[in-house]
């Protein structure tokens, strides 16, 4: 008999294939031309626009929206890509509700911002659909740069360097480029193979080689790269995850949310991807929300997010919390895991109520139990593989504003580097800015 939402254990195919397919289509449908025209019309072309200041890559939002409004979305796309070469992905995954759209003057005035993210997608989709690349490389400088990690930070850095005339080799540990764009972002935010299509499109600039399956710390060393290249950019993201520190954590089916999402993103048949009946996700950030929502979309009967502080402290935005709730995810606050129970595999999770005083979480001693045949840990990622000899700060590679590490000739950016939020758009900005600084040093 086919599986259903109530089939016990961790099983695939809880929903009919059609339902699963529908669940994983675009979260926001692309704007049709008329919708884009209406949305663009709402922009006031603000002076020194707050939205532009709020964008970590400082995209000239009023200009690109005006370019859409005057029938030149390709010019709009160029305005976007000038600042943010992954403007296509960012249009899909940026938490605009806490960035540009949060400060849009129409949000302030009417509670309804200009739909900047969707307009950005409208423009970038149009240019990318033409298959053309809007930039050309400057004259070759003869300089060679190694980039480690092909996530948004590495890709953005490599593209800018290539544009400036340098030759770039990207070393990537995984089998595919893209970083969390390919392995992490929720499937319904970037469906239809967009992440790889974007990498292919970006590579059209020329001068970038991606070597997959090469891991710094294994077949590569920083010293070796420093010898072989004129400069090195580290963008290795965060490879580790924090532990729960609850007893029974080692039981089967207590796993990392990021691993689950990576499997989901790489699955060619979501109907074959197993998921529990009673899923509990521990954590309060974007990863927790994404793991929870996607579990529900696969057909888990009960999905609960458990967060140890109050709702207002949650890392996921209010919009994302609401999205989780709309998808039938239960959000529980001020609870922390103390034990996972079960005979070999997880069956229940025991949670303790908490209070937060002066930022410190304290257990009250009162506990409750939830059914949990699958537990996902989404309580933050940690830096692994950081080469010896680099100063760290707050568990990340310490960098200056321009991305310089403590070692001359080595820059770093993205999630692995100190400063900035762990967001795709921030990684893009840091990669780009480091490239500009590297360029200044290389041709100095």
């Amino acid at each position: 008999m086919a599986n259903s939402q109530t089939t016990p254990g961790i099983v695939p195919g809880r929903l009919p294939a059609d339902d699963i397919a529908r669940n994983f289509t675009d979260l926001h449908a692309p704007l049709a031309p008329h919708e884009a025209a209406v949305a663009a019309d709402r922009c006031y072309f603000c002076h020194d626009a707050p939205c532009m200041t709020a964008c970590p890559t400082s995209i000239d939002i009023p200009l690109f929206i005006r370019q859409i409004g005057t029938g030149t979305p390709e010019a709009a796309a160029k305005t976007i890509f000038n600042q943010n070469i992954l403007g296509g992905m960012c249009a899909r995954v940026c938490p605009t509700e806490t960035l540009c759209e949060e400060v849009c003057v129409r949000e302030t005035a009417e509670g309804a911002p200009v739909e900047i993210g969707r307009l950005q997608r409208f423009a970038t989709d149009r240019l990318m659909a033409k298959g053309v690349h809007p930039f050309e490389r400057a004259a070759a400088t003869g300089k060679r740069v190694a980039v480690v990690g092909a996530g948004p930070a590495g890709l953005s850095c490599a593209h800018r360097l290539a544009m400036l005339g340098h030759d770039v080799t990207i070393y990537e540990a995984r089998a595919k480029a893209g970083g969390l764009n390919e392995y992490g972002i929720a499937a319904y935010k970037t469906p239809d193979g967009f992440a790889q299509a974007e990498v292919d499109w970006l590579m059209q600039i020329g001068g970038i080689e991606i070597v997959e399956g090469k891991r710094l710390g294994e077949s590569l060393s920083l010293a070796g790269l420093q010898d072989d290249f004129d400069a090195v950019f580290l963008s290795i993201g965060l490879g580790g995850v924090n532990a729960l520190r609850a007893s029974g954590e080692d039981k089967a089916n207590v796993t990392d949310a990021v691993g689950f999402i990576a499997d989901l993103r790489q699955s060619s048949d979501l109907g074959a991807l197993p998921v529990g009946r009673d899923v509990v996700v521990i954590g309060g950030g974007m990863t927790a929300v994404d793991a929870a929502i996607q579990s529900r979309k696969l057909g888990a009967e009960n999905v609960t997010i458990v967060y140890r502080r109050g709702q207002e402290a949650m890392g996921a935005s209010r919009y994302e919390q609401d999205l989780a709730a709309q998808n039938g995810v239960r959000l529980m606050f001020n609870l922390r895991p103390v034990a996972v129970h079960g005979n070999g595999a997880a069956a229940e999770i025991e949670l303790e109520y908490t209070t937060v005083q002066d930022g410190t979480v304290t257990g009250t001693g009162e506990t409750l139990r939830l059914r949990a045949d699958q537990v996902f840990k989404a309580i933050g990622q940690t830096l692994t593989d950081a080469p010896e000899g680099l100063d760290l700060s707050g568990g990340k590679i310490a960098v200056t504003e321009a991305g310089r590490t403590s070692v001359a000739g080595v820059w770093a950016g993205g999630d692995c580097a100190s400063g900035g939020d762990d967001l795709t758009v921030t990684a893009v900005a840091e990669g780009r800015d480091a490239a500009m600084d590297m360029h200044a040093v290389l041709v100095g």
Binding site: D41, F45, H47, L63, Q67, T70, G71, T72, A75, T79
Partner: protein, 434 residues
């Protein structure tokens, strides 16, 4: 990428977008910032004779017309020419031109209609090193009451006379700025070229009252309970300006003469349209006043994208390209027959086309009980009203009937040959067809 460099009267500018003589070009501070923002040239705010400058009102100068969502569509103003001393302006012009040799800088002038007045100011302007002058025969308010501005622009003989003085006492290009407050724009244009003007620019603002304050019972803008007519500009005036530019561009006497187009230019597309209608470049005022200097960036990117798409390498490739296609009504092909077509997939069933056609046109759209709207070819005269009122772009289109196809309205097949009113049997003055 397309090269936007434009040569107008031998004056080159990196793009065809100039700021018109008005507050945006009122002083050095503005003009420098405009150049930094990317404007190709400016026409400096109109200078008057030496001596105490004119004064402006100290209450509101502008009135406005809005579209949906308070979009500024038309602006009216009662501002006069510069209210700053002549010497100050001349010094500033000299400095700015020196620092921006690659940009066009034209000086707008309005002095009394006396030879001495022009003879006095022109050498001073010449000394600034500016690229040319523009004669403001256009402002319709305030100055006109003093025999200047549109008071000159409405008398072709004065235009010729003053232009001749300018050509005599000034060595660089002379542009004559025309007022639209006249019945036939070709006459002042002809008069300007008769006086050896190098170019005409148009339009200046149109006499207008934008609105009436129903509490004060006075026109806006209201100054202490009274108002006066002002000069209208902005997107709303574009169609009027476009026609006037086209009229001059195709007039037998002025055809091919340089025109600098002004009036409602807000986007790259407006600019392209004016240039296709014969303008060698464009001037902008209200768009800059509404959105700031940065608005030029969209004009630049849009025009170059369009030129790339069309394969135009330089602006000269398309300037005037549409002029041969502007003709008189009597030469339009009466055998060109179209019918409206509604794309049922695109139709959102609002019924606006029906209301328009049923109530005010030719009763050529049918409406079924389940709100399907269809064009009845036997009634459709192809007026285009339904296309214009339909909220969905490209939902209603005009489809051309091919020669030999039946026009169900007339019951006759579409003739293959061109035929116009001049030979039509109903025309009492028709010449024989053969």
């Amino acid at each position: 990428m397309a090269d936007l460099t434009t040569n107008f009267l031998g004056i080159t500018s990196p793009n065809p977008f100039w700021l018109a003589s008005a507050p945006p070009t009122d002083k050095e501070y503005n003009v420098r910032r405009a150049f930094e923002a990317g404007w190709g040239g400016v026409v400096w705010k109109t200078l008057g004779s030496e001596g105490p400058p004119v004064v402006n009102v100290n209450g509101p100068r502008y009135g406005a017309i809005y579209g949906a969502d308070r979009r500024l569509l038309g602006l009216n103003n009662i501002e006069l020419i510069t209210d700053r001393p002549l010497q100050t302006n001349l010094e500033e012009i000299t400095r700015v031109k020196r620092d921006y040799p690659d940009r066009a800088l034209i000086v707008s002038i309005m002095v009394p209609c006396e030879e001495e007045a022009w003879k006095a100011i022109l050498p001073m302007v010449e000394a600034t090193g500016a690229d040319g002058i523009e004669l403001n025969f256009g402002c319709p308010h305030g100055m006109a009451e003093r025999g200047m501005g549109s008071a000159v622009g409405q008398v072709p003989e004065y235009i010729t006379m003053v232009t001749e003085w300018c050509k005599q006492y000034y060595s660089k290009p002379v542009i004559v700025k025309l007022t639209p407050n006249i019945t036939d724009i070709r006459k002042p244009a002809q008069a300007a070229f008769k006086g050896n003007a190098d170019a005409v620019s148009l339009i200046n603002t149109i006499n207008s009252i934008t609105s009436v304050n129903l509490d004060l019972m006075a026109p806006e803008p209201t100054i202490d309970g009274k108002g006066t007519h002002g000069g209208y500009c902005g997107p709303a005036v574009k169609p009027i300006a476009l026609n006037m530019v086209a009229e001059i561009a195709r007039d037998a006497e002025t055809r091919g003469k340089p025109i600098s187009a002004i009036g409602g230019i807000t986007t790259w597309r407006d600019a392209a349209e004016f240039m296709v209608m014969g303008a060698g470049n464009v001037q902008v005022c209200t768009a800059a006043m509404t959105y700031g200097f940065k608005v030029v960036q969209e004009m630049i990117s849009g025009l170059s994208q369009w030129m790339d798409d069309k394969g135009y390498a330089a602006t000269s490739d398309f300037i005037g390209a549409g002029v041969p296609n502007v003709t008189d009504w009597q030469y339009l092909n009466l055998n060109y027959i179209t019918k409206a077509r509604i794309d049922q997939d695109a139709c959102i069933k609002c019924g606006r086309c029906y209301a328009a056609c049923e109530d005010t046109s030719h009763q050529a759209i049918s409406m079924s009980p389940d709100r399907v709207f269809e064009v009845q070819d036997d009634e459709c005269v192809a007026c285009n009203l339904c296309v214009d009122v339909c909220p969905v772009e490209n939902c209603i289109t005009m489809v051309e009937l091919q020669p030999g196809e039946m026009d169900k309205r007339t019951g006759k097949p579409v003739p293959s040959e061109y035929a116009n009113w001049t030979t039509h049997p109903n025309n009492p003055a028709a010449q024989a067809a053969e």
